[in-house]
Symmetry: C2
Subunit: 199 residues, 2 copies
Amino acid sequence: MSDSFFAVVARQRACRSFSEQPVDDETIARILTAATFAPSAENKQPWEFVVVRDADTRAAIGDLSRRAWEARGRAFSETRLTPAMLADVDRGATGGVAEAPVNVVVCADVQRGLEATIPSSIFPATQNLLLAATALGLGSALTTITTGFRAEMQTILGLPDHVWPIALVPLGHPARPLGPPRRAPFSNRTHRDRYNHPW
Amino acid sequence: MSDSFFAVVARQRACRSFSEQPVDDETIARILTAATFAPSAENKQPWEFVVVRDADTRAAIGDLSRRAWEARGRAFSETRLTPAMLADVDRGATGGVAEAPVNVVVCADVQRGLEATIPSSIFPATQNLLLAATALGLGSALTTITTGFRAEMQTILGLPDHVWPIALVPLGHPARPLGPPRRAPFSNRTHRDRYNHPW
């Protein structure tokens, strides 16, 4: 697989089913180093990464993910997603995420970074993390279903009040090859100088 | 310059001073295509990109950026940034952004994507945009200072109510070479299984 920037970008896809093959510390180090090169407001780098391999902790995260999905996600998404996509997300939220050998919980320290700038500081770093995983042949996914259950995730991970879990990223080797991502052409979403002036 | 994924990630840096050298449509197309390969909640791809080259529109955006910085940003950041960094941001907000030959306003269509998932859908795409610009040797920066002035940006760009400007990204050739980014080592921000358990 090509390591060129544009090739990596073009093959990123959400993975929700993982093999048992482990991911070593050196690989995690490369991925998280890439994450830290993202921009952040005032260069405050407010991210904190909790890298979970412990089976009991992953099971607790998986249980939280399943409850969050059943309480808030599934009924809503049923009316918005295709049956195939719903089944994939459903499998991820009810077991696939916890099955991954590594769960990275990307957090924000709101004492270091201003609360208003957390999304613009944390999601670029998370995207670097996902792309770096893709570059190294790993599967990953950006999930935020547990974000509304902050206190429960803080309890699971021993996070202090000022460290907020923002995203949960499963990492591992894909159980099956991932297909290509499906996207509308950029020109459908691009405007020249002013909205609705075609590109 | 290397086109490998990790080399591109490691040289991304905010650029706030641009030469007059233009950026052609083909380059914009490559950058925005990369942006669309980011993940988004429910794969709704809620992004809309307004690519501004028109000088009057850029001047209006520059004026809004300057007013936003003077009203809300500068006084706050004075106590938080080093003098060199403050001067750089100050120059960007008061002229450098508008000087760039292209301003990309990254917007979210809140009819297509759920409001709660806008940050996790728009900032990964914006990060792809910034990385793609870096891969092609262009300077760029992630700015959100104008986000609190939604109605004014909507007027400048003719955006309907349901299309929200989220980030403003200047694009162009850097006026001077950019130095390397400054980051804390990932291990300072990484916890094994549980917060405060060292990596």
